[in-house]
Symmetry: C2
Subunit: 168 residues, 2 copies
């Protein structure tokens, strides 16, 4: 069954996000519109997963996260993921599969995220966008447990744990 | 080190969320302001975890998720969590601990979520808010793996897997 609102109006237009108010029957819902995103559990031949640490202004601190990025118009999720992993981390190649697709915050935001695993990636030089000051972090996957306490990001917890779960 | 923007201005005021534009040095960031939230992995004495299935307008479909809710002003996260679990699921009591705290989408939104485990909860009658049409779902925790394919929500994947990981 296809579900949709009776009415929708845009109440804010921003650079990355818009805000829509939708009427569903007698209820109004305020929804953050987002183009969608990807995140990658990238494991190299040494069994290390690569993460990125960067300033996240909404959190007002530096967070360690899976490599991730926002979909460009017309781009397939797998293309976005390969591009982001190459630009942010300098990682290429590898065997890719989709681990999951999920909403990040389905109560108020339309961001859908595709989560990929890339196994056997090769290390090279990153080519980050100019406004990205990224520090690369490598954790051994077989001993990632103690590092989970450092993770304060939902997709990174979900991604690392789902990867370990599907591998087990 | 305390980090903060050089300037901030509110560009949208909504019902649940606002949008702020912050200037950090030469960079501008568009940030969705959110009061914060909680989610609960609630396990009863029979070893079942309770989830809720409901229409999520941003996803335009019904999703199965951990019980969750938004912080009320002045409320501590644990209070919010106990209240939401009682109202949504009719579950009370149990031994509580915080599993993690994380940002749901730290790239563009200030929503911080506290994730709790509540073990040994007792079943009673829910008292949902009027606009909530919730279906309760119970999964056996020892056999939750096959159900993970049904989950399309980041906090639910992170919460179930983190609970299993910390229990293991």
């Amino acid at each position: 069954m296809s579900l949709g609102p009776d009415e929708a109006r845009t109440v804010y237009r921003g650079r990355l996000i818009d805000v829509t108010v939708e009427r569903w029957g007698t209820r109004e819902r305020e929804i953050v519109e987002h183009p969608g995103a990807v995140a990658i559990v990238a494991v190299d031949l040494d069994g290390f997963v690569t993460l990125v640490r960067q300033l996240r202004e909404p959190a007002r601190r530096r967070l360690v996260e899976l490599p991730a990025g926002t979909a460009e118009p017309g781009e397939e999720p797998l293309e976005t993921a390969r591009r982001e992993l190459r630009e942010e981390c300098g990682l290429t190649g590898g065997a890719w599969r989709e681990l999951a697709a999920f909403w990040t915050t389905p109560g108020f935001c339309r961001e859908r995220m595709h989560l990929f695993a890339a196994e056997g990636v090769e290390r090279g030089d990153p080519d980050p966008a100019e406004d990205e000051a990224l520090e690369l972090v490598r954790w051994p996957l077989d001993d990632v447990g103690p590092h989970l306490d450092e993770v304060e990001d939902a997709k990174t917890l979900a991604g690392l744990l789902l990867y370990l779960h599907t591998r087990a």
